[in-house]
Amino acid sequence: MTNSIADLREVALSELEDIRGNEALVAWRSQYLGRRGAVGKLFGTIGSMPRDQRAAFGQQVNALQQELDAAFVEREALIQSQALARDLEEGEIDISLPARPQRRGGLHPSTRTHREFQTIWADMGFQVYHSRDVEEDEFNFTLLNLPPHHPARDMQDTFYTTDNRVLLRTHTSPGQIRAMREFGDGGSKPIRVILPGMCYRQEQVTARSEIQFTQVEGLAIGRNIRMSDLKGTIAEFARRMYNPNAKVRFRASYFPFTEPSMEVDVECFLCGGEGCRVCKYTGWLEIAGSGMVHPTVLRNGGYDPSVWSGFAFGMGPERITMLKHGIQDIRYFWGNDLRFLQQF
């Protein structure tokens, strides 16, 4: 009987030596160590043995079982590590093959710029107010200190509707009057709003000008709003929008609805103010028109200009987007060409 143990051991271990794969390994284990395996059968023969040999035989079978178990574990580890090594060595793919197409989607570049604006202004307490596109002449011009035949009406080529009291707003400024009347509570409450939206001008459509474009108007009204606040607030915006160290320049200008009025230039963010083609070698880019709200406009909004003051500003998101991304042609914006939109 001892011989059979030794034989079994030899056969089993030599078979195990030859095993290379997991399946054979599992089969080997069930053949020798399974419930009905060869070692189990040896245990089964114990009962038919002479009593005096039983203990010694049992010990030998036990030792065999332990040895085979250990050999199995060892072999299994070996096979696994070999398989791992093989996988790491041979399982290499061509990472230069094209990716499986995933869908991305994207916001319109104009929307992206508006969101940037809105985030910065919201931090400074300016809330979004949406005003209407189709406006009364009175709101677009007259209440903004642009009475009929005012020379500054020439600055804006207006789309009129067939009702000559009604037009497409040429700027977001009429929203100033609406916001003042809606939130001012009869000229008794301070206001901080921004008014984003589409504006329209009857112009030749070219790479530089469009018949529709968006604007963002800002308005702050209070009992103690100063011109220095206008400078500080817009400079803060410019530094957050463009560059924390950007220089900002304020130039006297003219808008009928503000006085004093000024244009705001920011140091060219493309050349760092060194002078380049985009800033026409001046080092400056014009980013906003602004000024102290004209007393007539305050009055038309319900405020007493001897008590209340305010500032307003207007910016063109498309122009800023064009500068930021090197867009040469404004017609891309409403052309809806996916080849353009997919680049954002």
């Binding site: 197409p101 869908r103 991305r104 989607g105 319109h108 929307t111 307490g125 979004v128 107010y129 949406h130 209407r132 189709v134 035949h149 020379p151 500054a152 600055m155 789309f159 009129y160 509707t161 067939t162 009291r165 009604v166 497409l168 301070p190 329209y200 009857q202 112009e203 459509v205 018949i211 529709q212 702050a220 209070g222 709003i225 100063r226 220095s228 606040d229 400078k231 500080g232 320049r249 304020f250 130039r251 006297a252 200008s253 003219y254 009928p256 103010g273 060194e274 002078g275 400056w284 102290m292 004209h294 007393p295 200009p305 001897s306 914006f333 409403w334 052309g335 809806n336 996916l338 939109l341």
Partner: protein
């Protein structure tokens, strides 16, 4: 407006680099848009960046002022002459030239009075006068028809002054000229191009600009003399004035010059006019232009004798409105019908000119004119604007009058103009000016406390400083304690008599001249208004994000369209479902196909899809934008809509599989819409068969939220698609109202806790009638399954063998779960039995084994 610095220097001393001046003018509101250099180098002012100019800088050693002493014939050539030039050296220099304007001096001996020209020595760099393209060259000695020549007298083109190359520069004698002086000191110049905003009417002249510069630099302004030497008999009795519309013509002045001579203007005058882009004509007309640009007061010169002839005696100038059907032929040879509001200058015989705009041909100055009647008037700027608009005529005069010229300037211009004409053409000026001034503008005085100035500017300006700035701008200023009282000067119409507005006007002047850069930057210390959250904006942006997250691209379209475009969004012979309100029609559309505002986003999105289809096999687009619905009020409703368009292949080609083989369809759109609704936590919605006629009736759905139908989505009607040449790929479109999405979105939705017990999964397949909507089957399953049925997923729809004809099999995988206990097989079997029972009973469904 072009402003030569040499001209400005008549009125103001400028001793800073021009580049720095330009910067300071720009910051003070007179934007210098470009600078042109003539002969002189561009300077670098610290801190001021300018585009580099590539003009010709005149060599101070080699380009000199030369006197042409005499002109001799060329011995070998008739087309050439020899100009003998004194350029300050011992010997005269002989220049061979073909300049036509020197031929008149040939063989005439020494020229008197002397004439001067631009003399270039060998080695001087000049423009090539014979080259069509701008090309610089260096002057070299060479033989010209047998005579060696190493220098030349130059044309304007050779110096880069203008394109003129017909002859050389010939300048009249001036006592100050020195032969051999650097030419740059005589003809060198810098010309500023200034863009004037409408409030700067007072700066529409050299003196106007000089006045601003004087205030900016803090130096004095020198006015020219407005006196005139009058030795003739008084003007009274030689002409009359009758103003019939003082509102439109508040002032009219006349001066008269007799026995003068019309001839070309002297060099200096012609040069100045050319520098500002005007063509010199003759001494009389040139003076009217010159004063227009110098003072900003346009003048008009009449041939006095023609007026006398028309009147048959002493003429009377009448300013009046036209009679019915009255016409006038103006200087530009246009016969004009005159509108009822056009103010005319006329005489007893009829109209003479459009007041303040353009003269008439009949009484204009000609070579034969001997006696000149000079008009300087004031016109109402709105009246002029109306005339410009009606007559479509723009002149230097109308440009100024339409912005506003103060009536005080008329008499100044009339005096200075007639004196200059006398100096240039000779003759005698009649004593006095005829001056009708029925409506002087009010004098404007504004009071402003310095405390208010400082409070609004946010800086400390002393009373003295503020008063000083205003005085520099020629305000008459008195101070009393804290109060500044300023009276506007008589060249300004832009200071308001309204106390609050007038204060803002002064504030602007003070801040502008002190410099906006001097105002500090502060953070608002004012009371913060109540912060209101704008939910509509928040949800609108959330909708965009939910769609972008599903791989859609946002587009933004024109809001313009035409009625016809929206009318064809329906099958043939049926009125389109879209227009459900009055169109907002544009009176002056950019193009006739875009003459109304849209009532749907569909047309623009379809057009975008057509355009993109040339480059894209697959498109997923959306737009959030307004439509415009006229409802009988003055202003239309402007509701926000969401348009979604899907077309083309569901996927792209790839090397392991080609995902272009299936096309986007109704169910893709349904998925996009339902995902968006899920993201907004809107659960109370349902779909019904589509009723909108832009869509395929069998493959579209109306979306209801609560009771409200908020839009339709689905495959567009084949006949509509055909109109857009999109027939090869199906177009799936949807358009929804945004307002209900904003109203119905659930801001505070509660979540389901994560279960801790295992779920039981099983599949069932039901055989039902083929036309039974799957939605009804699912509804029955869910109802019967009750609380413990967590999820129902349809995973197969099958018709055909072995399913009997007229039937279909729907296979669902069901998920049962109870978070309070682990469900047993027995529990699951009970639910399953209930579901099958309900399906049998209510849908006549059979279990597929």
């Amino acid at each position: 407006m072009l402003v030569p610095v040499s001209w400005l220097k008549d009125y103001v001393d400028i001793d800073i680099p021009i580049e720095l001046l330009a910067e300071r003018m720009t910051v003070a509101g007179l934007e210098v848009t470009s600078i042109r250099y003539i002969g002189v180098p561009q300077e670098q002012a610290p801190g001021v960046l300018m585009p580099r100019s590539d003009h010709l800088v005149w060599n101070r050693e080699k380009l000199l002022l030369g006197r042409i002493v005499e002109v001799k014939a060329h011995p070998q050539a008739d087309r050439l002459v020899l100009a003998m030039v004194d350029y300050g050296a011992e010997e005269l220099e002989q220049c061979v030239t073909g300049a036509a304007n020197l031929f008149g001096y040939k063989d005439q001996g020494e020229i008197t009075p002397p004439i001067w020209s631009a003399f270039a020595m060998e080695g001087a760099r000049v423009w090539d006068g014979h080259s069509a393209k701008p090309r610089q060259m260096t002057l070299k000695g060479k033989e010209l028809r047998g005579i060696f020549n190493k220098s030349m007298v130059c044309s304007e083109k050779e110096l880069g002054i203008s394109d003129e190359h017909e002859g050389v520069i010939v300048m009249d004698h001036d006592e100050g000229y020195v032969a051999g002086a650097p030419l740059a000191d005589v003809l060198g110049d810098v010309v500023l191009d200034i863009e004037l905003t409408p409030n700067l009417a007072r700066c529409f002249s050299m003196i106007g600009v000089a006045r601003e510069i004087a205030a900016i630099l803090g130096v004095d302004l020198r006015y020219p003399s407005f006196d005139f030497l009058a030795k003739g008999p008084t003007i009274e009795g030689q002409v009359g004035i009758e103003i019939r519309e003082p509102e439109l013509n508040p002032r009219f002045t006349l001066t008269l010059l007799r026995d003068t001579q019309v001839k070309p203007s002297p060099f200096w005058l012609g040069r100045r006019l050319k520098l500002i882009g005007q063509r010199p004509r003759n001494n009389i007309v040139d003076v009217t232009n010159y004063i227009t640009f110098e003072l900003g007061q346009p003048l008009h010169a009449f041939d006095y004798d023609k007026l006398v002839e028309r009147a048959g005696g002493v003429p009377t100038i009448i300013t009046r409105l036209p009679g019915a059907g009255e016409q006038l032929e103006t200087l530009d040879d246009v016969r004009r019908e005159l509108g009822a509001e056009t103010i005319l200058v006329a005489d007893t015989a009829g109209a003479l000119s459009l007041g303040g705009v353009i003269g008439g041909g009949e009484t204009e100055i000609s070579a034969e004119t001997r006696n000149v009647l000079l008009e300087a008037a004031a016109w109402n700027n709105i009246g002029i604007r109306k005339t410009i608009k009606e007559q479509r005529v723009h002149t230097e005069a109308s440009a100024r009058f339409s912005r506003g010229v103060h009536p005080s300037q008329a008499l100044l211009g009339c005096g200075r103009g007639i004196e200059l004409m006398r100096q240039l053409g000779g003759g005698q000026v009649a004593r006095g000016a005829l001056d009708e001034y029925p409506l002087p503008p009010p004098t404007v005085t504004v009071d402003v406390p310095i405390e208010r100035v400082n409070r609004l500017l946010g800086m400390d300006v002393s009373l003295k400083k503020a008063a000083d700035v205003l005085r520099r701008l020629e305000f008459a200023v008195t101070t009393n304690g804290d109060m500044i009282r300023a009276t506007a000067p008589d060249h300004r119409l832009d200071i308001s008599g309204d106390p609050a507005v007038g204060q803002a006007d002064l504030l602007e002047e003070i801040a502008r001249i002190i410099g906006y850069d001097q105002i500090p930057e502060t953070i608002m210390a004012d009371e913060m208004p109540p912060q209101r959250e704008n939910t509509a904006v928040f949800i609108e942006e959330r909708i965009r994000d939910l769609l972008v997250g599903q791989g859609l691209y946002e587009v933004i379209s024109y809001r313009f369209t035409s009625r016809e475009s929206e009318a064809i969004l329906a099958p043939a012979g049926v009125p389109s479902s879209w227009p459900d309100a009055e169109y907002i029609e544009i009176e002056n559309p950019a193009v006739s196909e875009r003459n109304v505002l849209r009532q749907t986003l569909m047309i623009n999105m379809l057009e975008s899809a057509v355009n993109n289809a040339r480059y894209q096999s697959s498109q997923r687009l959306f737009e959030v934008g307004k439509v415009y619905l006229g409802r009988g009020d003055l202003l239309p409703e402007e509701p926000l809509r969401l348009g979604i368009l899907l077309t083309g292949a569901r996927g792209q080609t790839w090397w392991q599989e080609d995902a272009r083989t299936t096309a986007l369809d109704f169910y893709d759109m349904k998925g996009v819409v339902e995902n968006m609704l899920a993201g907004l936590h809107i659960e109370d919605y349902r779909l019904e068969r589509g009723t909108h006629n832009s869509y395929h009736p069998g493959r579209s759905a109306d979306l209801f939220i609560g009771r409200e139908r908020i839009g339709t989505f689905g495959e567009i009607h084949p006949q509509v698609a055909a109109r857009f040449k999109l027939t090869d790929a199906k177009v799936i479109y949807g358009e929804l109202e945004v307002a209900p999405l904003i109203q119905q979105h659930q801001r505070l939705h509660t979540i389901t806790p994560l279960p801790t017990t295992p779920a039981v999964l099983e599949d069932i397949a039901l055989i039902v009638k083929a036309d039974l909507p799957a939605g009804e089957v699912e509804a029955v399953i869910r109802q019967a399954g009750g609380r413990l049925l967590r999820d129902v997923t349809l995973f197969d729809v099958y018709a055909g063998d072995p399913i009997p004809p007229g039937k279909k099999s729907l296979a669902y995988s069901l998920t049962y779960q109870d978070e309070s206990r682990t469900l047993t097989d027995k529990n699951a079997a009970k639910i399953r039995k209930r579901i099958i029972g309900a399906a049998r009973h209510r849908l006549q469904a059979e279990l597929r084994s």
